[in-house]
Symmetry: C2
Subunit: 115 residues, 2 copies
């Protein structure tokens, strides 16, 4: 019987090496995703400003439904759980709507300051 390990200290060197190899890939992917999300928020900030200036509502349910549908399809092709892809997009959209509401408030304040 094998005793249960609580850390990597008493791990077989081969296993540890394999774990490190996988973790290095995970870290590389995370760095790529963080940079892509930074780009994504740059784009959504621009959308937010455009919506605020033209007094469009922050949320757009039709657009969101199309995004979810598309991402679920892409996820399936990539063998990623489509339910997770949808949860992920909702997580991002919640953050975007928070940004947009803040931009709308700031724009309204700036406009009333101009009156």
């Amino acid at each position: 019987m094998t005793t249960s390990n609580t850390g990597t200290g008493d791990m077989d060197p081969g296993v540890r090496q394999e774990l490190e190899r996988l973790r290095d890939s995970i870290d590389n992917i995370d760095a790529a995703v963080v940079h892509l999300l930074a780009e994504r928020f740059k784009a959504t900030q621009q959308v937010g400003r455009l919506k605020a200036v033209h007094q469009l509502p922050p949320a757009d349910p039709g657009r969101e439904a199309r995004q979810i549908e598309r991402l679920r399809r892409l996820a399936e092709n990539a063998k990623l759980d489509p339910a997770f892809a949808e949860k992920f997009l909702n997580f991002i959209i919640a953050e975007v709507i928070r940004h947009h509401e803040r931009i709308a408030e700031d724009t309204a304040n700036a406009q009333s300051a101009d009156d």
Copy 2:
């Protein structure tokens, strides 16, 4: 005074075009992120199998603390809210731990079936 729009139907063509340009970029970024997350889960599934076979615990608080610290730093350099990057990683890790627990159960079941 501008009346508030509820959709894109009555939008100025220039504004609509700019919105479409930004949304196309957002959709491209989302497709890239979904494919990266699919790769990430492939790697974490392998980690999960490795941990299950060698009876290592699914969660690893030391590794998670280092990941959060690193992602917050990367986020800051990329001008992404570090608090959001941390929330994002926790969101992903919660999903990974769910996967690992499932793999550990399946492995335990397979091992007891071998007895």
